[in-house]
């Protein structure tokens, strides 16, 4: 097409047959083209639309794709202008609707008291509402002073909501009345304030009505009361007449003894419990089997704990690794101290059980008849105070008595008391250990067993108690006051821990810190100057061996200590070749003379004589150290570094054999040498890094054989494909919605601005008008004044 826009328009109009000659007929074509005049009117409109569109190319937007040749059919044509306008109109409609509703149609205003106040507790809210309710009542009664305010209670279906008992009674008498009485006075409050006269009238009416009802009610009540009184008075008369009539009752109770017995029997039988089939008595074998199974189960659990599998399950293994790196972020949440529930129970006298009870401790059944008077000991001092008058052998009876008196089922709070008492027992055992007396041996053993069973029942308390004791030891250790440790009770404490807890666990809340503390003790022992340090050290080595008898873990401190201990005792230590030793051998206070002889066998060492530095004791200690070494071979031989571990000991033993050829030393040496030989044969180079080969990730792009640009995804996994599709959709939707929301808010802002501007203009116009009129008036007045003035002057 050529020519100006106007010419083009004309041409197209003409081509459409809208202007110019309309009735010309084209040759060879019969009504092929209908003119608008010939067809319906709508056609004309449509054609006009089309022409308009053609002449406004900016209304159309065609999306252009980069792969046009492939996607021709998918060309999208849109009309942004029109769709924009449509959107605008929609928004305007919505906006207008919203604006017209504004301040007219209300929402719900929550006027309830404290409903949205998060600071108040439920109880406080209730209280506040109650107060409010009472206040409204009070004020109401003063405003509409009815004679009796009692009637103005809130009701619900005739039931009073107030707490007033008397009102409640009245309601029961006249159940329907109070409903009316209650609800009616409440109504006038809602009356608008504007119509004063009518309200007063209404009020008067209501008051009159209520007074009327009240009077009637009172009358009714009086009547009822009167009737009841009358009935009461007549009662005797009626009864008298009734009694005078002879009764046809069977003869009164003249039962014989036999009959009575029979009756009793019948009653008893009726009350008897139905016999339930008893559990079958199990045979010995079955019991044995059960016990075995339980034992096996426990053993399997212990095995798991030893391997540390529990930890891995709970993600504990990661924690272990993190310990070193985040050394500072400990103690984040403190263990909540268990409150000792002893507030009100202090004065409460326990109800003692009457029948003798049976308590089972460590497989031993103890029957106790006695109960204990007085308080459950809550501190060590209480305990010492309570037991000072009791003979040693009766203390166990006393302790059992306490447990019996304060059985948790007997009274509330007993559980806590027994928990505290168990803690006291631990302290008491340690106290006994410090002030040791051979009479106490049995008691200590008894209490040790008791503590063990308590650990099963009160794990938290006992754990806390043992850890407190460990902390005490740690504090003493930190002071590095060598005369203050080890205390005799420490020996007992660590033994008690070993006998009570499962020390073979990889990680144990009590056993692990205990082992660490023993390790520290072994490190700082002054064995060259203090004989009881030497004794305690060897004791602790034995104890650690006992701790690790199942798990067989390596304890470097014990290895080091044993070597030091042996070197401190062996005769003529300077002669030992020192290249393989950890400590340089030196003659010490306790070095034995070269002519001493070791006894054949060793009697048990006495803990009480640990400060004995006599020659005999030293010989015993040396022999004990050798025995301990012998015992620890079982742990050493599990280690991969057995040869390195045992080397110094081998040297020392070889040296010792020269002096003690006729004791257990040569036997130990032979064992050591034998084991070393075997270990050397068994030794293979380490292969710690024999891991499965790890695939190296490749980054070459994958070539797709049948590539189709229409296909969005080549993911072979159907579900994943679905998911990504959905994800894509969500993303699109989200974008769209966001766009809409943005447009909405822009529109709203625009409209508001417009409104504001309009208001502003209106206001100014109004003001201008007013000022104008005032000025005119002023001018007129002024003129008049002038005129008047002129006139007066005349």
């Amino acid at each position: 097409m050529a020519g100006s826009q106007l010419k083009q328009l004309k041409a197209s109009l003409k081509a459409a047959g809208l202007v110019g000659q309309t009735n010309t007929k084209k040759k060879g074509k019969k009504h092929s083209k209908k003119t608008p005049n010939e067809s319906r009117r709508d056609d004309k409109q449509q054609i006009l639309e089309k022409i308009r569109e053609e002449f406004n190319p900016f209304d159309l937007k065609v999306s252009r794709s980069k792969r046009e040749d492939l996607l021709e059919k998918k060309r999208v044509v849109g009309k942004p202008g029109i769709s924009k306008q449509a959107g605008e109109e929609n928004r305007r409609a919505a906006f207008e609707a919203k604006r017209s509703r504004k301040n007219k149609v209300g929402g719900l205003v929550d006027r309830r008291f404290g409903e949205s106040n998060t600071q108040m507790s439920a109880e406080e809210k209730m209280l506040a509402r109650f107060v409010k309710e009472r206040q409204t009542q009070a004020s109401r009664s003063s405003v509409f002073n009815l004679e009796d305010a009692d009637d103005d209670t809130l009701t619900h279906y005739g039931q009073s909501l107030s707490f007033d008992e008397t009102a409640h009674d009245e309601d029961e008498d006249e159940p329907f009345f109070s409903q009316k009485g209650g609800s009616e006075p409440a109504e006038p409050e809602d009356e608008p304030v504007g119509r004063k006269k009518t309200k007063q009238e209404v009020m008067r009416e209501i008051i009159a009505k209520s007074k009327h009802y009240k009077r009637e009610r009172q009358k009714l009540a009086e009547q009822t009361q009167f009737a009841v009184q009358e009935l009461d008075e007549d009662f005797d008369n009626v009864m008298g007449t009734l009694n005078s009539v002879p009764q046809q009752k069977p003869a009164p109770a003249t039962k014989t003894e036999e009959e009575k017995k029979y009756d009793m029997k019948v009653k008893q039988i009726a009350l008897d419990r139905r016999a339930a089939p008893a559990d079958r008595t199990k045979t010995e074998e079955e019991l044995e089997k059960e016990r075995k199974e339980r034992q096996e189960k426990l053993e399997a659990e212990r095995q798991r704990r030893m391997e540390g599998e529990d930890l891995e399950e709970h993600g504990g293994a990661d924690d272990l690794d993190d310990v070193w790196e985040g050394a500072s972020d400990l103690n984040e949440d403190e263990v909540s101290e268990n409150e000792e529930g002893e507030e009100s129970e202090q004065n409460e006298q326990p109800r003692a059980a009457q029948e003798p009870s049976v308590i089972k401790i460590g497989g031993k059944v103890i029957t106790v008849n006695s109960t204990v008077k007085g308080k459950c000991p809550a501190t060590l001092d209480d305990m010492i105070e309570a037991t000072k008058d009791i003979e040693t052998k009766d203390i166990s009876t006393f302790v059992v008595g306490v447990f019996k008196t304060y059985q948790p089922k007997l009274a509330h709070g007993n559980k806590e008391k027994i928990g505290v008492f168990s803690r006291v027992l631990v302290q008491y055992v340690l106290y006994l250990g410090e002030h040791y007396d051979s009479k106490n041996a049995e008691l200590v053993d008894f209490l040790a067993k008791l503590i063990k069973s308590m650990c099963e029942k009160y794990p938290e308390e006992m754990c806390e108690e043992f850890r407190t004791q460990l902390r005490n030891v740690q504090h003493i250790l930190q002071k590095r006051d060598f005369s203050a440790f080890p205390r005799q009770q420490d020996l007992l404490l660590f033994t008690l821990i070993g006998a009570t807890f499962s020390t073979s666990d990889l990680y144990h809340l009590v056993a692990t810190p205990a082992s660490l503390l023993i390790g520290e003790l072994l490190e700082v022992m002054q064995i060259n100057s203090k004989v009881h340090h030497l004794f305690a050290g060897i004791f602790f080595c034995d104890l650690l061996l006992q701790y690790q008898r199942l798990s067989k873990r390596l304890i470097p401190e014990a290895v080091n200590f044993l070597e030091r201990a042996l070197l401190a005792l062996v005769p003529e230590p300077e002669k030992i070749e020192s290249t393989h030793l950890c400590v340089i051998p030196k003659t010490t206070k306790f070095t034995l003379a070269s002519n001493t002889q070791l006894p054949e066998s060793l009697d048990p060492l006495s803990l009480n004589s640990w400060k004995d530095a006599g020659q005999k004791q030293l010989i015993n200690l040396l022999l004990k150290a050798v025995t301990t070494l012998d015992n620890s071979l079982s742990i050493f031989k599990e280690s991969a570094a057995f040869i390195e571990l045992i080397k110094p000991f081998e040297v020392i033993l070889k040296h010792m054999v020269k002096y003690y050829a006729s004791s257990s030393v040569p036997g130990t040496l032979a064992k050591v040498q034998n084991l070393t030989r075997n270990a050397k044969l068994d030794r293979h180079p380490l292969k710690l890094q024999a891991h499965r080969a790890i695939a190296i990730p490749t980054y070459l792009p994958k070539f797709e054989e049948n590539f189709n640009p229409d296909k969005k995804s080549y993911d072979p996994d159907q579900t994943r494909q679905e998911i990504s599709k959905l994800r894509h959709q969500i993303k699109q939707e989200r974008k769209q919605n966001l766009r809409e929301i943005r447009k909405d808010s822009q529109f709203e802002a625009r409209e508001q601005l417009k409104l504001k501007r309009k208001e502003y203009e209106e206001y100014h116009a109004k003001m201008a008008r007013i000022i104008n009129s005032i000025q005119t008036e002023e001018g007129a007045a002024k003129n008049e004044y002038e005129r008047e003035k002129k006139r007066r002057k005349k």
Binding site: V335, Q474, F501, V510, E557, V583, A640
Partner: protein, 536 residues
């Protein structure tokens, strides 16, 4: 300068009545009024001396207050006299004035002596402490005044060395060796601490002259005890902070116009150098010896003109450590040696052999181990060390772990990991597929290059996996896992101790389970007991 005390009976010069504060005030006022009352000075000084004597017998509040008042008054008097230049020597003077001046001068010296003498009072008492502190402050004030007014000309720079020397002479022998703290040989001496905080650390000229005076003090003969005291006090003074900032020396002066020489850093360094060398050549206590080694690389070497002068001392002490089998000495001197090597290119023969010799079993038990590991980390960081040496170190460290406390093992494991990462050849130690022969490691060989450690395996490190402490065990497991981590940060592992580990364990939360021993025993001790070989 030996203290000469002229004893005059105080009572004869004064009326026998008790000295009171009013009386002191009166005497003071008279002195201020006119020079004819100058005899009052002598009275006051004598009074002061007699008061000090009383301190030995009894101490009460009043006596204390009075004594301090008298000393304060005397301070004021002499302050006045000095500022009015009555002590100053002028060329044209009549004889009478000269006599007065000489007399005043002798009194003044006497008083100063009195003040320093008080430091010898050996009574533990708040009052005595306060008195001693007062006297330190007074003496320092005299130094300031003297330096201002005793110069030959007005505006001529001057520093009152004589008084300063007097002060130092007495100050450095205060304190009690029993108060010496064993770990760093500093002394818990409040006078020295006060001197350090209020004067020494604040003013450069005091620091400068401190060492020049110290040098002359050290030239005189002292008995061994005094020597130890002086050394400990000097260590206490110089330990907490460097003498001056090497980049921007701070030049706050105590006296108004100090001699020019104080800004001569070269001069200062050479004096300092001589002092320290002299101190080191004294007969030191073992703690002091270690303390010197401890502070050497940070507090001493940077302020030497010629730090190589310390070389002999350091190499000697390094070797001494091996000879007396106290490797802590070697570890400490290693720090200083490293500083010399780094900055002054000190050549040290057989360095790695010596380093290897430090790895004795006691190393991991020492408290200096973290210090050593920091240094070792530096020495082993070179990738040019032969793998044989590195392997020897790994093997040796592994062996130490077998007898070490957990805190020591915790240092070694990540360190070895880093070494393995840096020297992949050494992975042979933990993973070897070819060889099936015997262990070729020679643990008696002293030279790490010849131990043949690469022909061995680190079984010791595998043994640590079964350590009784679960965290140590799991840490050791890193050798069995793929070496994915670039390196471990050693600082996380160096400063562990038993107490930290135990605290860590005891702070773990109770999670509702407490495993109890399955076996049960009839008793704790004896036959049938938990521990069979012990009885009560």
């Amino acid at each position: 300068m030996a203290p000469v005390r002229r004893r005059k009976a105080a009572e004869t010069a004064n009326e026998p009545g008790k000295l009171t504060i009013e009386r002191v005030k009166e005497l003071h006022n008279q002195i201020r009024e006119s020079p004819k009352y100058y005899n009052n000075i002598a009275i006051l000084i004598d009074e002061y001396k007699s008061l000090l004597k009383e301190f030995g017998t009894d101490t009460n509040e009043d006596l204390n207050i009075l004594t301090r008042f008298v000393s304060l008054t005397l301070l004021k008097v002499f302050d006045h006299i000095i500022t009015t230049k009555q002590l100053k020597l002028t060329s044209f003077e009549n004889e009478q004035k000269e006599t007065v001046r000489k007399w005043l001068k002798s009194k003044y010296d006497d008083f100063k002596l009195c003040l320093v003498e008080t430091w010898k009072i050996d009574i533990d008492n708040e009052g005595v402490y306060a008195l001693k502190m007062d006297n330190l402050d007074s003496l320092m004030k005299f130094i300031k005044i003297e330096s201002k007014h005793f110069s030959s000309n007005k505006d001529e720079p001057f520093f009152s060395n004589r008084t300063y020397k007097l002060v130092l002479e007495h100050l450095l022998i205060t304190g009690n060796l029993s108060q010496m703290l064993a770990h760093d040989a500093t002394i818990d001496n409040f006078l020295i601490l006060e001197f350090r905080e209020s004067y020494f650390n604040k003013y450069w000229d005091l620091r400068y002259f401190f060492f020049s005076e110290l040098r002359s003090i050290l030239e005189t003969e002292h008995d061994e005890h005094t020597q130890h005291l002086i050394v400990s006090n000097v260590i206490t003074v110089i330990k907490p902070q460097p003498l001056y900032d090497l980049k921007t020396p701070d030049q706050t002066m105590y006296v108004d116009n100090p001699p020019k020489t104080v800004s001569n850093m070269r001069q200062f360094r050479s004096t300092f150098e001589k002092c320290i060398l002299k101190l080191m050549n004294l007969k030191l206590l073992p703690e002091q010896y270690k303390a010197f080694l401890l502070i050497l690389h940070k507090r001493v070497i940077p302020f030497f003109n010629n730090p190589t002068k310390l070389m002999d001392f350091l190499t000697d002490s390094y070797n001494l450590g091996f000879n007396v089998k106290d490797i802590s000495l070697s570890i400490l001197s290693l720090n200083g040696l490293w500083e010399l090597m780094r900055q002054f290119n000190l050549e040290y023969p057989d360095f790695y052999t010596k380093l290897y010799a430090i790895l004795t079993p006691e190393l991991l038990h020492l408290s200096y181990r973290s210090r050593f590991f920091r240094l070792l980390d530096i020495f082993m960081s070179s990738t040019h060390i032969s793998s044989a040496i590195v392997a020897s170190f790994i093997k040796r460290l592994g062996r130490l772990c077998l007898t070490a406390p957990p805190a020591g093992i915790v240092c070694v494991i990540p360190f070895v990991y880093n070494l393995l990462k840096r020297h992949p050849t050494c992975m042979l130690l933990i993973h070897c597929t070819e060889r099936e022969t015997v262990d070729q490691f020679d643990d008696k060989e002293r030279d790490p290059a010849k131990t043949n450690a690469l022909g061995s395996s680190a079984w010791e490190l595998e043994a640590v996996v079964h350590h009784y402490h679960p965290n140590v065990g799991s840490l050791a497991k890193i050798f069995t896992q793929p070496f994915n981590k670039y390196r471990y940060n050693m600082e996380d592992f160096l400063d562990w101790s038993y107490s930290k580990l135990v605290d860590n364990e005891l702070s773990k939360k109770f999670k509702g389970e407490l495993a109890v021993e399955l076996e049960s025993w009839e008793s704790l001790f004896g036959e049938e007991g938990y521990l069979k070989e012990y009885v009560y």
